[in-house]
Amino acid sequence: MKSLAELKAIKEKAQAQMTARENNDDGIRVLVGMATCGIAAGARPILNKFVDEIAKRNIHNVKVTQTGCIGICQYEPVVEVVVPGQEKVTYVKMTEDKIDRIITEHIVNGKPVTEFTIGSYKD
């Protein structure tokens, strides 16, 4: 160890691996439906992509977790984004390419991507 900068580099790298352990209950929550219906419809890659993308962008204060079936199995994979103090937003028929916009527009900038939500969904 030759400098503080070297120590800082190790610190930042290690911290990124440990964000899952942060104990913040007041942050944004991303809930991915992972009941049998969700898993069958492909929820696991969605969950993992959320985790990876959020880590890649170094966004803190966001907790990505699983949740059970909320009863709209025909719309799986379902992802709910809960921003404290606001009504939760439910995204349906999720695909990996939708994730990017949800993170940039909703999680970072606070504007839900209305066209992906359950309210705008049409068969």
Partner: protein
Amino acid sequence: MYRSQVLICGGTGCTSSSSEKIINAMQVAIDNAGLNEEVKVVKTGCFGLCALGPIVIVYPEGCFYSRVTPEDAEEIVNEHLLKGRIVKRLIYDETIDNANDTIKSLNETPFYKSQKRIALRNCGVINPENIDEYIANDGYAALGKALTEMTPAEVIQTVLDSGLRGRGGAGFPTGLKWKFAAGNDADQKYVCCNADEGDPGAFMDRSILEGDPHALIEAMAIAGYAIGANQGYIYVRAEYPIAVNRLKIALKQAREYGLLGKNIFDTGFDFDLDVRLGAGAFVCGEETALMTSIEGKRGEPRPRPPFPAVKGLFGKPTILNNVETYANIAQIILNGAEWFASMGTEKSKGTKVFALGGNIKHTGLVEVPMGTTLRQIVEEIGGGIPSGKKFKAAQTGGPSGGCIPASLMDVEIDYDNLLAIGSMMGSGGLIVMDEDTCMVDIAKFFLEFTVDESCGKCTPCRVGTRRMLELLTKITDGKADMEDLEKLEALCDYIKENSLCGLGQTAPNPVISTLRYFRDEYIAHIQDKKCPAGACKNLLNFSVVKDSCFGCGMCARSCPADAIFVTDYVAPGKKKPAYEIDTAKCIKCGACIGTCKFNAIIKK
């Protein structure tokens, strides 16, 4: 990137209830479910709530699973990790928010709410075998700050201003110790750590070594810089195999990163550490005996002065601090003396770790600000006394300490208050006793310990403690008279005044303090030949209340000594003849009381 991390306690408590097997079972189940790239298993140190171990915490949800068995691993993986369904039956009940049917954060439970974790801040939170996780939580930043931004004098001044006092028991100001050692010019100085932890019931040092070994290494390097030493020794008992192992791993990693060794942070400062194993003698927790033992000699104390800061290890100026003391140092350097001094009481700053044991619901480790009352620790954090029994006393300070009776439960705990009420802080063992505990018996227990552990170098301790134990045995056997009590008190004073080291000087404390608050119990043993708590077997007689006996015979079948026989007497309203106990044959084991459904057997 792992979406979920499963923290499993690998401290001594949970390991002894097979947490190692849980770790393996969890990993196998995760592999079988194909989650090995999504979920990471982390072995941590002790999280403190040992009563509920083995403990598994699943993040990001922060679910606190308690009393987990290896068989539960598969369910946790298949339900929680795969489908996001929390396994409710294993959740620690106080983290369930019944109103909303959600999980509360652990910090909101009574056990953790009033705690302030500084020395234990990383325990149970990081993987102690991975230096990167320590660095992620500001590890080694204090060493970097001290070496690059502060002079040794500034480091010492910061520690002095913080008001940190030795956590090993005596409470000597740490900064002052460092200042003395820094002021003595010598070609070689040493930094030592006392990780001998000999008090029965205390295990905070072990927990820090197991859960956060780098905190100790970093602090000792800072101390080396402050006093001008380039070599340190950690004296740890060989009975702590997990702690020793993690410490060695940590030392290796610190050397690989160049945080120990030559030219640390390119400042020209060299420092290295070695581990010395102790054989577990209590006297080796005394500083001069400890250093004699590190030198490879028989662990016996020597008179002071000269103090170690002048002439210590190998005759060179040495500082010796306890593990918990060191665990505070990095935080003090990072956050400043004022931050630390803002916590605690006027003369005792910061926090103190207590090892809760005995008759208490939440056995485990707690860290609270100095000045917290005993009532708060026992009733609020500790969850009170199980099975509705009454609190009688708490023992602090181990064999050198004393008992605090129920009437003093609201005293704010700090070094000076404890001394004033006849106990002492000691290393922080806190043994809670309920109404069934006999105070004479407790004093005898601690005396047995000191008699065993006396090194034998000085007569007052070697012979005196043995005579005290004989007198106590006489009292608990019901064979003593009031003159023996006077002799006992005189011996207490004599041993206290004349022993060579702290072991002997404090050995009478358990007797002195129980005599102070529970003299009537001693007198009951001596004059009435009775043990009020019903604990001293030689003063007890078991008997059957014949009018309550239904004659079922359960007691007679359970008696290992065949001391219970059937009589001719049939109590009014009963159909079978009552039983009776032959007191000559009775070995007072109490087995019969446990089997009687009618409470017809009494001891008094």
